[in-house]
Structure formats: C-alpha cells, structure tokens
C-alpha cells in the first residue's frame, strides 16, 4: 500500500514543510561551513544558501510561489528582528549617545550616496528605466525597500533580489575594504556596514565585533527612515 515515490514527491513539493526544511537545513550547513572557515567573507552563509536553494528549485522545476509558501515563515521574522534591534541599542545607549553627531553626519551623507550612486551608475550603464527605479532603494532592509519600490511603480520582486545581493556584496567586501583604509574605529566600520548593506551587513558586523554590530543595527534602522524620504526625491531630481 506504499505510495509511489513520484506521488510522494508531488505531495511533499506542494507542502510548506519541505521548503521550510530545505531553507533551514541548507542554511545550517552553509553557516557551519562559514564558522569552519572562521567566518571568511567569501564563505558568506546567505550567498551560498541562496544559490543552492535556487539551483534546487530550478532542478526540480518548483515555482518560486510554491517555495515561498514554506519559506514565508522565515521571511516573516524580518519584521520582529527589526523590532529586536531595540535591545542592543538599549544596552549600548551611552556609547551611542556619545557618538550622536558623527552618526547623524554619516547617516545623511551615506544615505544620499547610497541612492545617488546607484541611480547614476545604473543610468550610465544604460539599464532600462524600471530596473533603475527598482535598484534605487537597494541599501535598506527588504520589507522597507519593497514598499518604496511599490510606491515608485517599479518591480518590488526585483528590488528584493537587489537588496539581498547588495547585502551580500557589502558583507563580503566590508572587512577587507575597511582593513585597507586602516580605520580601526569599530563604531564607524559597523555604521558603514549597516548603512550600505542593511541586515546582512549587520549580521556580518556582529560576527566581527559586538560594538560594530550595534552601530550597524542603528545605521540600518535609521537608514530605513531616511531612505523612505530620500528615494522619491532623488528619483524626481535624477531621472528624466
């Protein structure tokens, strides 16, 4: 009375259980490998989990919507994780208050740079208009960026991919780049990581130094605020 392997697959491939399990197990493996390499930037767990799961979907011909029905439980936690950033912020409140002026300067200049540079570069590379618009909010966390993209009538799903790629790029290059500049102020390094590469940059910063992680989290949440205002403004000024 056993079901054929094929009908078992058809059943499992439609259930959230399989895709949630795949997401967690693949990430657990890539994270363990990242730990094994002592957190080498190129062993970034998101980068490798992303292409392995994507390849698995393509090989099995599973549509993304089916996958997301299972993976949405993980995706949902992005919101609560943003709220949870209040805790490191509270625990480091005195260090943060002391650095309020440099933080605000870095926030304003960094946020403007993040938007203007991506829009101008994308135009210079001759990318189509809707792609340029979808890339504009790439430095803020996924949920916020998708909202901005929607209000610009761009493509929120492309924005989500651009956001994750930006985060991975930032997490991979931040440590070698900062070591080359010779800057050892971990508040500044963390702040830059969170501003340019949101949650993935923040995850990277927490791996390097707890203080860097805290400043990265602050930069990520402040940038979400500022970018919501700046992107519509920059788009009207820069794109004709």
């Amino acid at each position: 009375m056993s079901a054929s392997p094929f009908s078992l697959w058809v059943y499992l491939a439609q259930s959230p259980l399989l895709w949630l399990t795949v997401t967690l197990v693949v990430y657990a493996v890539t994270d363990a490998l990242s730990l094994r390499t002592r957190r080498h930037p190129l062993a970034n767990p998101v980068l490798h989990a992303m292409w392995i799961v994507a390849a698995f979907l393509l090989l099995t011909g599973t549509p993304y919507t089916t996958y997301f029905a299972g993976a949405q439980f993980v995706h949902f936690l992005l919101g609560p994780a943003t709220v949870a950033l209040a805790v490191p912020l509270y625990q480091n409140r005195w260090t943060v208050l002391q650095a309020i002026v440099p933080m605000l300067a870095a926030l304003v200049l960094g946020s403007i740079t993040a938007i203007v540079s991506v829009v101008m570069l994308a135009e210079a590379f001759g990318l189509p208009r809707d792609v340029v618009l979808s890339l504009a909010p790439k430095s803020v966390t996924a949920g916020v960026a998708m909202g901005i993209s929607e209000s610009l009538h761009a493509d929120p799903s492309l924005t989500a991919v651009a956001v994750v790629l930006t985060g991975i790029i930032g997490a991979v290059i931040v440590t070698p780049l900062m070591n080359r500049t010779g800057i050892t102020d971990f508040r500044a390094r963390g702040f830059a990581a969170g501003l340019a590469a949101h949650g993935i940059g923040t995850a990277r910063a927490f791996q390097v130094d707890p203080l860097a992680g805290t400043f990265s989290g602050i930069a990520m949440s402040l940038n979400a605020l500022v970018t919501s205002f700046l992107v519509p403004l920059a788009v009207t000024l820069l794109i004709r």
Binding site: L77, A84, V101, V131, V164, I173
Partner: protein, 131 residues
C-alpha cells in the same frame, strides 16, 4: 520566551497600526523598534514595569529572545534572495551590468559613510578638548 516573543510582535503590531492609521512614511517595524526602546528605558524608571519579559536579562527575557533573533539575522534574508529564480531572463540580459552597479555603489557608500563618521568624530573630539 513566549511572552517576550509576544511583546516583540505586539510592538510591531502597534507600529504597523499607527503607521497605516496616520499614513506615516516609515516602516511599521521601525516604529516598533522605537516603542520597545521606550519600554526598556521606562522599565528603569518605573519598577512596576519590570515584570514578565521585561523582568531583566535571562534566556526567556526580551534580551535573550532578541539575542537569538539577531544571532540568526542572515537566515531571514534567504527566502527573498532565492527570488532570483524569477528573474533569470533579466539576469541573462543585464546581470553583469547590475552586479557592477551594485558593487561600485556599495564600495562608494561604505567609504563615504565611514569617512563621514571618522572625520566628524575627530572634529567633535577636538572641540571638546580644552584648548
């Protein structure tokens, strides 16, 4: 642990309701962050608030649960990243240009931000020193 998770979700929910209700141009979870921060600061002033999830640092407390969530922050981006499978035609057409744009923009943003932070921090320190 459940109470702490409940409190985090409650902050996010209130944030979401206020943002939608007042049509504020900021994301709900960010307002939720501000709310939780205010609660933690109030706890230090008002003893009666220091109960349940806010009772103090421990595994089931708001501090413990937040640490677990933030320690696994990377994982939460995997589902959105896998969305690249929907965009393979775009990757084929413009993949290299998009990658180049993102890499250059991230490098410039990182350098400008870190420089702004370090320079301002030195200026402030110099001003504070008695001359």
């Amino acid at each position: 642990m459940i109470a702490s998770l409940g409190l985090i979700l409650l902050c996010q929910l209130v944030g979401e309701v206020v943002v939608r209700g007042l049509a504020l141009p900021l994301p709900g979870p960010v307002l939720g962050l501000v709310l939780l921060l205010v609660l933690l600061l109030l706890r230090d002033k008002i003893r009666a608030l220091a109960v349940g999830p806010l009772a103090g640092d421990g595994t089931g407390s708001i501090e413990g649960v937040s640490r677990v969530l933030l320690a696994n922050l990377s994982l939460l981006f995997v589902p959105a990243g896998v969305g690249v499978v929907q965009k393979l035609d775009l990757v084929a057409a413009h993949g290299l240009a998009i990658a180049a744009v993102l890499v250059l923009s991230v490098v410039v943003t990182l350098l400008v931000t870190v420089a702004a932070f370090v320079v301002t921090s030195r200026l402030v320190a110099r001003k504070r020193e008695p001359s």
